[in-house]
C-alpha cells in the first residue's frame, strides 16, 4: 500500500501544483518540493522501521496486488525488494534535488513544469516497483510523455528536435517490448493450460525454446539498450541531454538511463537466462565499444553538457559489460554503478546548469579560469570529475572495479580493453576541469558569483552520497545480495 501511496502522492502533487501555481508560483514550487519529500520519506521511513526483516533474507519486502483488468490477467501489482528499494531511493534523492535545482531556473509556466517533473518521477518510481509486465509497460510510457514536454517546452535552442528524437527512439523500443511481452504472455498461457497472466513471478516459470526465446528476449533487450544507451542506439542521448533543462538532464542521466539497466537486470536476465547467455559475448563487446567510443567522443566535445552526456554512454558501457558477465561480483558492481553514475553524472549536469545560469553558454571554449571567482564550485566540480574518472574513495571506483573483476573471469580481452577506457575517462574528465576552471580567465563585465545556499544544499547531498558510497558500500551489497545471488545462480 505504501508504494501505491508513494506514486499517488507524486501524481496528485503534480496536479495540485499545476493548479496552485497559476495563482502563486512560489506556493506551487513548495508544494512540489513537499510532495517529493513526502514520497521520499515513505519508503525510507518504512525501511528504517523494518531493517531486521530485510537482513534476515526476506527477499520481497513489500507486495501489493489488486485486480486491474482481470479478463486479461492484468493486475496492479507493485512489489519492492532490495534492488527496487535502492533504485527508489536514488529516484527520490535526485527527485528532490531536481526540484531544488529548477527553483530559480524556471520562470515561465512553472506550474506545468513541476507537474511534468513530478509525473516523470512517478513514472520512474512506478517502473522500479511494477511487477506486472503490463503495468511495467504502462509506467515505462508514462515517464516518457512528461519528459518529452520538459525537453520540448523548457529546453534550449534546439529543443524540439531533441524532444522528438528522444520520444521516437524510446517509443520504438517500447513498442517492440510490448510485442515481446504479448508473445511471452501467450506462450506462458498455453504452457500453463489457459492461465493467462502478465504477472512477473508467474512468467518467470515460462520455458522458452531456441529461436522463440531469442526473439522475445531481443524485443525486451532493444527497448532497454536504447534507454541505457548502447552504441549504436545512443544517438538520441547527446541531443536530449544537452537540450533539456538542468533538472531534465539530471533526471535523464540519473534516472531514465537506469531504467534501462534495471530492465536488463530485472527482466532480461531472469526471464531469458539461456537466450541471454547466447548473446552475452556480443552484448559485452558492444558494452566495451560503448566505453571506448563514448570516452573518445566525450573528449572531442566543446559543449559542456554534450561532453557529460557522452561520458554517460561510456559509463553505461560498464553496465552492459557487467550485466552480461553473469558473475555475482560483476552484477553487484552493476548495481553500484547505477547508483554512483546517477549521483556523479547528475552532479556534473547540475554544475553545468549552474554554469549556464551564470554564463549563458555551454561552450567550454568560452569558459576558463572560473576557479578565481568561484572556488567552491571549482572544488566541488573537482570531486565529481574525480569520481567520474574512477578515483578510489569515491563510489565509481568501487563499481567499475567490481565489474572489471567479474568480467575478467569471463573474457580477459574485453576486460583489458574496457580498462583502457578508464584511462580515456581520465583524459576527458581532467579536460573539464582544465578548460572550465583553470587556464586563462575570460574577461567579463560582471564576474559570476559563487554557490548560493540552495546550491550548496544540492551539492552537499550529492557529495555526501558519493563519498559514502565510496567508503562504505556494504549496505548496498547487503540489500541486493539476495536478488543478485539468485540471478547469478541461473
Amino acid at each position: 500500500m505504501i508504494l501505491v501511496l508513494m506514486i499517488a502522492i507524486l501524481l496528485l502533487g503534480g496536479i495540485v501544483c499545476w493548479l496552485v501555481a497559476q495563482r502563486n508560483a512560489l506556493v506551487g514550487r513548495w508544494i512540489a518540493l513537499i510532495a517529493v519529500i513526502t514520497a521520499f520519506a515513505m519508503p525510507l521511513g518504512w525501511y528504517l522501521r523494518h531493517t531486521p526483516a530485510i537482513t534476515a533474507g526476506n527477499n520481497w519486502m513489500i507486495d501489493y496486488q489488486a485486480n486491474w483488468i482481470p479478463s486479461f490477467g492484468i493486475s496492479f501489482h507493485l512489489a519492492m525488494d532490495g534492488l527496487g528499494f535502492i533504485m527508489i531511493l536514488l529516484t527520490f534523492l535526485l527527485g528532490v534535488l531536481s526540484v531544488l535545482c529548477s527553483w530559480n531556473e524556471i520562470r515561465e509556466r512553472s506550474g506545468f513544469y513541476f507537474f511534468n517533473l513530478l509525473w516523470t518521477l512517478a513514472g520512474i518510481a512506478g517502473v522500479f516497483v511494477a511487477m506486472d509486465l503490463f503495468l511495467f509497460y504502462f509506467f515505462w510510457e508514462v515517464m516518457i510523455v512528461p519528459m518529452y514536454f520538459l525537453i520540448a517546452i523548457w529546453g534550449d535552442f534546439n529543443r524540439r528536435y531533441a524532444a522528438y528524437k528522444f520520444f521516437i527512439f524510446t517509443q520504438t523500443g517500447g513498442l517492440l517490448m510490448l510485442l515481446a511481452i504479448l508473445a511471452l504472455y501467450f506462450i506462458h498461457g498455453e504452457q500453463s493450460g489457459g492461465h493467462y497472466t502478465f504477472d512477473y513471478f508467474a512468467l518467470l516459470n515460462t520455458t522458452l525454446t531456441g529461436s522463440t526465446g531469442r526473439w522475445i528476449m531481443l524485443g525486451f533487450l532493444i527497448a532497454f539498450v536504447i534507454k541505457l544507451p548502447m552504441v549504436p542506439l545512443h544517438n538520441w542521448l547527446p541531443d536530449a541531454h544537452s537540450e533539456a533543462p538542468t533538472a531534465g538532464s539530471l533526471i535523464l542521466a540519473g534516472l531514465l538511463l537506469k531504467t534501462g539497466a534495471y530492465g536488463i537486470i530485472r527482466f532480461v536476465l531472469p526471464l531469458f537466462p539461456e537466450a541471454s547467455a547466447d548473446i552475452a559475448w556480443w552484448a559485452m563487446l558492444l558494452g566495451v565499444v560503448g566505453i571506448v567510443y563514448g570516452a573518445l567522443l566525450a573528449f572531442a566535445q566543446t559543449d559542456l553538457k554534450r561532453l557529460i552526456a557522452y561520458t554517460s554512454v561510456s559509463h553505461m558501457g560498464f553496465v552492459l559489460l557487467g550485466a552480461f558477465a553473469f558473475r555475482e561480483i560483476a552484477l553487484q558492481g552493476v548495481v553500484m554503478q547505477l547508483l554512483t553514475h546517477g549521483v556523479s553524472t547528475g552532479a556534473l549536469f547540475v554544475l553545468a546548469g549552474m554554469l549556464k545560469e551564470r554564463l549563458h553558454t555551454r561552450d567550454i571554449n568560452q569558459m576558463g579560469g572560473l576557479w578565481t571567482n568561484m572556488p567552491h564550485m571549482g572544488a566541488l566540480a573537482m570531486v565529481f570529475v574525480m569520481a567520474s574518472l574512477g578515483l578510489p574513495l569515491l563510489g565509481n571506483f568501487i563499481a567499475e572495479f567490481l565489474i572489471l573483476i567479474g568480467a575478467f573471469a569471463v573474457s580477459p580481452v574485453l576486460t583489458v580493453i574496457a580498462s583502457a577506457g578508464l584511462v580515456l575517462s581520465a583524459l576527458y574528465s581532467l579536460r573539464i576541469v582544465q578548460k572550465v576552471f583553470m587556464g586563462q580567465q575570460q574577461v567579463v563585465a560582471d564576474p559570476p558569483v559563487d554557490l548560493s545556499v540552495r546550491e550548496w544544499i544540492i551539492m552537499a547531498c550529492l557529495t555526501a552520497a558519493i563519498i559514502f558510497l565510496g567508503l562504505y558500500p556494504q549496505p548496498v551489497f547487503d540489500l541486493v545480495k539476495g536478488y543478485i545471488g539468485q540471478l547469478a545462480r541461473l
Binding site: I69, V142, A152, F167, I168
Partner: protein, 477 residues
C-alpha cells in the same frame, strides 16, 4: 411481424421518426434551437428504447434484419457519436449558415442508414442502409454550398460513392448468381456445400472494393483527404465515426457469416490491404500542414490497425469494438476542438493556427493533446488499451507480420502527432481573440461535453476493464 420483433426494432423506428419529427418542426417554423433540443431528446430516446428492449435480444426479423448484441453495441456507438456531432453542429451552423435546419434531417437519415447497416443480414438491407447513408452524405458534405472546396468535396464523394455502389451491386449480383441467395447465412451454406467458384470470389472481390471505398482503405482512399478537408467540421467528424462504424459493423457480420477469416485468399487480400493502410496512411500524414487532411490520413492508418483485429477472427471482434469506441471518442473530441476554433469564413484546419494554443486557452489545448496522445496510443488515454487489445488479438492468432508492421508504423504516426502537440505548446503568436456572438449556454454545453469526452478517454485509458467486460457481455448475447 410479432410483438417481440417489433420491440427489437423499436430503437430504429424511433431513429427514423427523428427525421420525420424534424421535418414537421421545420414545417411549423420552429427555431434552430428547438430542433436541436428535440433532436437531442430523440437520440436519447433511441438509447432509452435500446436499453428497454435489451432483454428481448437477440431477435431475428427474417429475411432482412437481425437485432443482436453486436448490433446493439454498434448502434449504441453510432448514437453516442451522433449526439456529440449534433451538439457540435449547433454552434457550427448557427454561425455560418442562414438555413441550418434541414441539416438535421440529413444527419438523422444518415444515422439511420448507418444503424440499418449494423442490423442487416441480407444484401437488400445492406444496400438500402448504405445508400441511405451515402445519399445523405452527398448533401451533408456540400452543405456549406458557398464554399468552393465543400462543393468540390461533395461532387467527388458523389462520383466515387456512386461508382462503389455500382461495384457493390455487381458483386452482389455475381454472388446471387452463384449461390441463389442474398442472405448471409444462406450464402455461407451454399458455399460450404458447393465450394467457392471463380465467380463467387469475383463477386466477393467487387464487394471488398465497395466496402474499401466506404472505409477509405488503401488503395481506395483517394477521396478521403479532399472530403475531410472540404466538408464542414461536424460532418467530417460524422464521416470519420458514424459512417465508418456502420460499414465496419456490416463487414464484420458478413465476414463472420461466411467465415471469411478461414479463406486463405481473402485473408491474404485483407492482409495486404491492412499493411498498405498502415504504411500509406501514416506516411502520407507525415508532412501534412492541414489538420483535417492529417486526420484523414491518420484515420486510414487507424482502419489499417482495425483490420488487424478484424483479421484475427472471433478473438478480434471485441478488440475491434473497443478500438472503434476509443477511436470515436478521440476523434470526436479532436473535431470538437476544430469546430470550436473555426471562424465564420473557414475551418480551423491550418496547423499554424494552433501555434501556442496551450498558452491562449489551456483547456482546449489539453483536450486536443489528450486526443492526439490517444490517437498515438500513449498510456493513460483510451488509445493505449485499444491498440493493446488489437495487438493482443493479432499476436494470439500469430499474425506476426501484421503486428510488427502495426508497431513500426505507429512509431511513424507518433512523429506527426507529436508535431501537432509541440505546435500547441510552442510560443504563441499575437492573435486577436475570436468574437463570440452566440448564446454562451451552447459554448458551455460544448465545452462541458468535450471535457466529459476527455475524462472518458482518461478513464478508459486507466480502467478499461469495465468496458471490456460489457463489450464481451453484449457480444455473447
Amino acid at each position: 411481424m410479432n410483438h417481440l420483433q417489433f420491440l427489437a426494432l423499436l430503437p430504429f423506428i424511433v431513429l427514423a421518426m427523428a427525421a420525420v419529427v424534424v421535418i414537421l418542426l421545420i414545417a411549423f417554423k420552429q427555431s434552430h434551437t428547438v430542433i436541436q433540443v428535440t433532436g437531442f431528446l430523440m437520440m436519447c430516446g433511441v438509447v432509452f428504447t435500446m436499453w428497454y428492449v435489451r432483454d428481448t435480444l437477440p431477435r431475428e426479423i427474417p429475411p432482412l434484419l437481425v437485432v443482436d448484441g453486436m448490433a446493439a453495441l454498434f448502434t449504441g456507438l453510432i448514437i453516442f457519436s451522433v449526439l456529440v456531432v449534433g451538439l457540435l453542429s449547433y454552434i457550427y451552423f448557427e454561425e455560418r449558415e442562414e438555413n441550418p435546419k434541414e441539416y438535421y434531417i440529413l444527419l438523422f437519415l444518415a444515422t439511420l442508414g448507418s444503424a440499418v447497416l449494423t442490423i442487416s443480414r441480407h444484401f437488400i438491407s445492406l444496400f438500402i442502409g448504405l445508400e441511405l447513408l451515402s445519399v445523405s452524405l452527398y448533401a451533408l458534405i456540400a452543405y456549406l454550398r458557398n464554399r468552393n472546396n465543400a462543393v468540390e468535396a461533395g461532387v467527388k464523394y458523389l462520383v466515387l460513392a456512386a461508382l462503389s455502389s455500382a461495384f457493390l451491386l455487381f458483386g452482389m449480383a455475381l454472388i446471387y448468381m452463384e449461390t441463389g441467395s442474398m442472405e448471409f447465412t444462406a450464402i455461407a451454406k451454399a458455399v460450404d456445400t458447393a465450394g467457392s467458384s471463380v465467380l463467387f470470389i469475383m463477386g466477393l472481390g467487387l464487394i471488398v472494393v465497395a466496402i474499401g471505398f466506404k472505409l477509405a482503405l488503401v488503395p481506395f482512399h483517394l477521396w478521403a483527404a479532399d472530403v475531410y478537408q472540404g466538408a464542414p467540421a461536424p460532418v467530417t467528424a460524422f464521416i470519420a465515426t458514424v459512417s465508418k462504424i456502420g460499414v465496419f459493423a456490416v463487414l464484420v457480420r458478413f465476414a463472420t457469416a461466411i467465415h471469411l477469416q478461414q479463406n486463405a485468399l481473402a485473408v491474404t487480400i485483407f492482409t495486404v490491404i491492412a499493411i498498405a493502410c498502415m504504411i500509406v496512411g501514416n506516411v502520407l500524414a507525415l508532412m501534412q500542414q492541414n489538420i483535417k487532411r492529417l486526420l484523414a490520413y491518420s484515420s486510414i492508418a487507424h482502419f489499417g490497425y482495425l483490420l488487424v483485429a478484424f483479421l484475427s477472427g472471433d478473438a478480434g471482434v471485441g478488440a475491434g469494438v473497443f478500438y472503434l469506441l476509443a477511436y470515436s471518442i478521440t476523434l470526436l473530441s479532436a473535431f470538437g476542438i476544430i469546430t470550436l476554433l473555426s471562424t465564420r469564413r473557414r475551418d480551423a484546419d491550418e496547423l499554424s493556427g494552433y501555434r501556442g494554443l496551450f498558452w491562449r486557452s489551456p483547456l482546449m489545448a489539453a483536450i486536443f493533446t489528450v486526443a492526439l496522445l490517444s490517437l498515438a496510443g500513449i498510456p493513460l488515454t483510451a488509445g493505449f488499451p485499444a491498440k493493446f487489445f488489437v495487438l493482443t488479438a493479432g499476436v494470439q492468432e500469430h499474425k506476426w507480420l501484421l503486428a510488427v508492421v502495426l508497431v513500426l508504423t505507429s512509431v511513424i504516426g507518433l512523429f506527426y502527432y507529436l508535431r501537432i502537440i509541440s505546435t500547441l505548446f510552442a510560443a504563441p503568436p499575437l492573435i486577436p481573440i475570436k468574437e463570440r456572438s452566440l448564446h454562451p449556454f451552447f459554448y458551455f454545453a460544448t465545452y462541458t461535453s468535450l471535457v466529459v469526452l476527455m475524462c472518458l478517454l482518461a478513464w478508459i485509458g486507466v480502467y478499461p476493464g469495465f468496458i471490456v467486460e460489457n463489450v464481451r457481455e453484449f457480444l455473447n448475447i
